[in-house]
Symmetry: C2
Subunit: 456 residues, 2 copies
């Protein structure tokens, strides 16, 4: 019987070695991990993260061994995986794989860190990064195979596909065999979390936390000998059939993309990995809002005063209103899905950092939001927008071709480090922050990934 | 804004009191719980259950406080919920809500027991049973709303709907408010586990274990203040849209069934709860196989020798071949989905207990399976079958109108207790078994449900 795509992916994962990763892939993975740690520390104090920790405090357990980033306390690995994923996702500041809108590092790195803390055998930095890449690559491959119908139906793809990527990464770090990897994929793929109806509530980051937790647990269970179907992804009544309305299309894509992953051509045929296509957000909100924030911040820098504005017209891609059309967000979490709040932040504050996503900041943008009209323009790309602001003195226009943070206009290294600093320095101080940034940057040479994280 | 069905269900759950349950409902719930405990103890020694415990042993944690039925060891509540659900489901011997093929007690009781063990405040027997009924009722209601398209697509409905029923039951036992119950439903419904492709592997009972675990965790998280969408079940990009291909039908049914649950008419309009419609299996395998086992056992009792059989013809309902059409099961787990093995057990052994579902027993039925032809007859119901056996001496026919264990032909009280004894006595002895059966039978008067379970 011919091998299933599930089995072929397992074989690829089992054989992947650190030296197989080109320098660009390693660099992209390390950068993703730095961004992840910054976001997790930046989100550790959020009330959602604290509530999860409080909830877990009510569940009897011993003192754990696993780090909660930004916290002194230790918890068990399943809790650590969930809490760190919630913290790293809560500000919507984590990385983005643009073609699927997956945040690919969040669940995967959270579970990998928890496993690294829990195991007796130290995980080296290069094994950690190799496992991270395996998880990101397969996760994004599966995401591309089921996108867009899976996402349109309502699944929050970061969580719903993330559990599989997470399980693969942990299983790789555990050194599981191909057969155990097949079982890992099966056990993880039968747990699907994350729905878009929860955008704007705690259940959104929780979904990503569940992905981290179930992925981690799946690898432990497969290591313990638990079995699953050998064709869990594509077989009848399996993962694709359950989660992807456009089933035929995904069935067609999965074997093709599996082949192009394995032979190194890459999904787009350009030899570039999905890890390298990962991007980093300058603003902690839905990525499709970013062009509007860019343009409005530039208009503020051009000297337009918020109090003289009479109207704001945004011409945007259709996804902007589908995903972020909330005109009246009731708090900071909901404001992450409001292009109106984002645009107003640009014009009012000239920036959109976590400080502009507090409940208080949301009430400050009410007046400008009222004056804003957003219209879909079929010719505009998701990372583009056109803005017309009318004031008493006249009409001012701004066109953003590629939002900052997109593949065509990434943050500079300085901006990237500044984003990390902004989140980490308030928690562990400037000195610790600088050491941590450097330590993670050198992770490929580390003998024990635990020590990489503990310098801060 | 009008209350959503999610909110109405939460209100019903929050207000439900032990005295609201008619004696028949209590009795049905207690019986379901007895059957559950028997199955969990009966499955505790299965290699799948032991592998889960071994896997968990590799996850660092302290000595827990929660019972693993049939075992001496204690684990933490999330692990206990999963292990007990796996053990109780592994033999496919657990209860069945026939109109949805949900095993309604398995995940719910596992999580309730774990919570009862973990909390400082003792849960009384009547509160436990009330919580169990709340979980079973809403779980079955949701199952009926999404059945059959949800199940046909590939979701294992016991697990996929079970997480919500489980969360509701635990939240009820915790005494959560209506608002917290809305969040509980949202947090649980965004975690969907269990796919039918895994039938015949460990990932099947694991799916039910994940439902128990995620339901339990959801209640803890909602109690800790985590929020979710107020219309998670029926809202756009919510639970129904994600998991039910026949979305319009489920959207139509949910508010109707919610109203009939709340006003006491019941989903069928006969005033009978879904708890009362729960049934108990005499055989540890797919329920649609049961009529064939009945009839073939009767033919053996009539004096037909297995060695004189030339051919066996089974006329069955379409679901029998869809669910249990495996002619060449490779082990005991796969044989649970083989009507051929079930029929052969009847003719060869005159019974089908866990002993007839060992790998060894499966090899013994190969010859009779080869001689069997199963054909779908559109006039035959799922709990009915017609059997024609040809031997050297002639043709023998048997018609089974309602399989034993179906609503129209339940096991007698003696048979029900015998099923419990068969599973429990080998583990804790005859004396302990008798005490445990009686103790659970008197659960409604117990001040602390922990003591109900610990008599064995």
């Amino acid at each position: 019987m011919a091998a299933s795509s599930t089995e072929k992916l397992a074989a690829w994962i089992a054989q992947l070695k650190p030296q197989d990763l080109r320098p660009q892939v390693r660099a992209a993975a390390v950068k993703s991990f730095i961004n992840y740690v910054g976001c997790a520390i930046g989100g550790h104090g959020h009330e959602a993260t604290q509530k999860v920790l409080n909830a877990y405090h009510a569940i009897p357990q011993a003192a754990g061994t696993c780090t909660v980033l930004g916290n002194k306390i230790k918890v068990d690995p399943l809790q650590a995986a969930l809490v760190n994923a919630v913290a790293s996702h809560i500000h919507d500041y984590d990385d983005t794989h643009l073609s699927t809108v997956i945040h690919p590092t969040t669940a995967v790195a959270s579970a990998l860190l928890a496993y690294s803390d829990a195991t007796d055998t130290p995980i080296s930095g290069s094994d950690f990064i190799t496992a991270l890449v395996a998880g990101i690559e397969v996760q994004c491959l599966l995401g591309i195979a089921v996108y867009p119908s899976h996402y349109r139906r309502g699944w929050h793809i970061t969580a719903s596909v993330g559990s599989i990527g997470t399980a693969i990464a942990v299983a790789k770090a555990m050194g599981l065999t191909q057969e155990q990897l097949v079982n890992t994929i099966g056990i993880a793929s039968t747990q699907v979390s994350g729905m878009r109806i929860h955008f704007g509530s705690h259940a959104k980051p929780l979904g990503v936390g569940f992905a981290a937790q179930s992925g981690l647990q799946s690898a432990y269970l497969a290591k313990g000998g638990m079995t699953a179907a050998p064709n869990s992804l594509e077989g009848p009544r399996g993962w694709i059939e359950c989660v992807c309305p456009d089933t035929e299309s995904a069935w067609d894509k999965l074997p093709k993309y599996t082949e192009s992953l394995i032979d190194g051509r890459g999904i787009d045929g350009d030899g570039v990995t999905e890890t390298e296509k990962n991007t980093f957000k300058p603003y902690p909100c839905g990525i499709v809002i970013h062009p509007a924030i860019d343009g409005c911040s530039q208009l503020k820098a051009d000297g337009i005063g918020a109090d003289e504005i009479e109207s704001i017209e945004l011409s945007v891609h259709a996804l902007v209103l589908e995903l972020t059309g909330r005109k009246f967000p009731k708090d900071g979490l909901q404001a992450k899905f409001s292009v109106y709040h984002g645009a107003a932040c640009g014009l009012l504050f000239g920036k959109a950092t976590p400080t502009e996503y507090t409940d208080d900041a949301v009430s400050q943008t009410a007046d400008l939001r009222d004056k804003t009209i957003a219209t879909v323009d079929g010719k505009i790309r998701p990372d583009e927008c056109h803005i017309v602001v009318k004031t008493k003195s006249g009409t001012h226009e701004k066109h953003v071709d590629h939002a900052m943070g997109s593949l065509n206009n990434p943050m500079s290294n300085e901006q990237f480090q500044q984003k990390f600093d902004d989140q980490v320095t308030p928690v562990i101080g400037q000195d610790g922050c600088t050491k941590l940034f450097s330590s993670i940057g050198n992770i490929m040479g580390a003998a024990d990934v635990r020590k990489v994280i503990q310098v801060g």
